[in-house]
Structure formats: C-alpha cells, structure tokens
Amino acid sequence: MTTRVIIRTLSELCVTIGTLIVLLVVYVLYWTSVRADRAMDSEIDHLQDRWATGSVAMEGARGQAAPPPYAPGASFAVMYIPRFGSDWAKPVLQGTGAETLKKGLGHYSRTARLGATGNFAVAGHRRTYGDPFKDFPALRPGDAVVLTDGTTWFTYRIDRRPYRTRPSDTGVIDPVPRASGFRRPGRYLTLTTCDPEWGHSHRLIAWAHLDATRPVTGGRPAALSG
C-alpha cells in the first residue's frame, strides 16, 4: 500500500515538473515575443504621434546648439533594416538595461548620439522578446541600416560581415571601434547581440558608417523604397 502511494506521488511530481518545463518553454519562446511585439508597436506609435504633433521638429530648431540628452528608458528613434524584411521596424530606446531591451533596441548611453561623430551603438535581443536581431548573421557589406529621429533620415551602410567576439570586448563600441577596420574618427554605428543564438558565451557585432542623411520632409530614403 505505502509503496503504491510513494510511486503514485513520485509520478505525479514528475508530471507536474514536466508541465512546468513545457509552460516555461511556451513563456520564453512565445509569450515574451507577444508582450515585446505589443510593447515595440506601442513605442513606435507613441514616437510617431509625438513626431506628428511637431514637438520634435520644434525641439530640433530650438536646441540646435546643444540638443537635449536622450531620456533614459525612453524611445527616441526608429530603426529599419531592409535585410531583415521590408516590414522590420523597431524602436530604439536609451539605455541597455534588461527592462529597456524588452521594449525595443537599446542605445548604449555612453556612446555617441544618432548621426553624430563617434559611435552610435545599439544592442538587441537575438532570441526571445520579439527576436529583433534573429537574422543578424545575414547582414552583408553594403546593407542599409536606416534610422529616423523624427526630423532626419540617417542611412548607415554595413562595412563587413558580423564579427564574433567576447562579451568583455568593450572596444567594439569605442568611438573608433577596435577590429572594425575603421582608422579615423567618423560617424559610425555598431549593432551588438548574443552569439550563439540561444547562448551567451560570445557577442556578434556589426559595424556601419553613415552614408547619407536627408530631412524627413524629403521623403523616405531610397534604401527603404528599394
């Protein structure tokens, strides 16, 4: 009798743990993306509403000399990478904290502003939370990375295939990134994500340089319509 109770309890425990694991997998693979996609869409809507009301244009005109710093945790730009799909558009938020990266891509706060001289460095999830950088290894030299801050379109061009490095290799987001092949100061962009896809032993880096800018009033850049 007791043996029966022990075996039954043990099997029930195993079934319970198995169910828990399946639920956790559903949460990580599916639910985080549902939540993140919703959050990213609302960030983009929020930005476009703000841009449509013209508050950014006025800020830009007023603060030409010293633009206000990006507010931590707030979105300030939208990124488009045609290589990842014509409908791929993600908000860029200030900071790279875990909570920030659940709502979009994160701008390393100690790196340059969008379009400025230096290195505009951005981190994003490769897997989970909407998988924004899932196709990261598909980036090739010449690929466009287009960003807008509501007043200007910035078109960056990827310069080399993604570079694999160690997590401690912070030189890759320096103003003149280490190992990038860039020699002199310029307007650069760095994207970082994890490697391997589901792991965290390495990081995958992509570098680009500013190729063209145009005012938003001039229409979408050619890289997006092509």
Binding site: R127, T170, T192
Partner: protein, 58 residues
C-alpha cells in the same frame, strides 16, 4: 497528491471539475505573471551587450 485535492473539493463531480479548471488557470496566471518573469533573466538570453563586465553583475 491530485487525488487528495480532488477528494477535498466540495460539490459533485461537475463542480469539482469546474473548481479544478479555475485552480489550474489561476496557477498558470501566477506562473506567467510573476514566477517566469522572475526566472527568465536567470537564463542566458538577456546577455546581448558587451559591457556586462563594466556594468557589474546582473
């Protein structure tokens, strides 16, 4: 364990089944809302930046 719970639920089989369903849904809700968001950062999918070493352990 589950047999013990079933025996201690009130009502006939239908009421018990209904209460069980509500209990299961409540547990799933608590897991998705509180337990998994706490456990997920312990998995490696969050490490996408290169300055963890400087920002301190997370």
């Amino acid at each position: 364990m589950y047999g013990w719970i079933w025996r201690h639920l009130p009502g006939n089989a239908w009421v018990r089944a209904l209460i069980s369903l509500v209990l299961v849904l409540a547990i799933v809700f608590v897991l998705f809302q509180y337990v998994f968001p706490w456990a997920e950062p312990l998995l490696p999918f969050n490490d996408v930046t290169v300055d963890e070493g400087m920002a301190g352990p997370r």
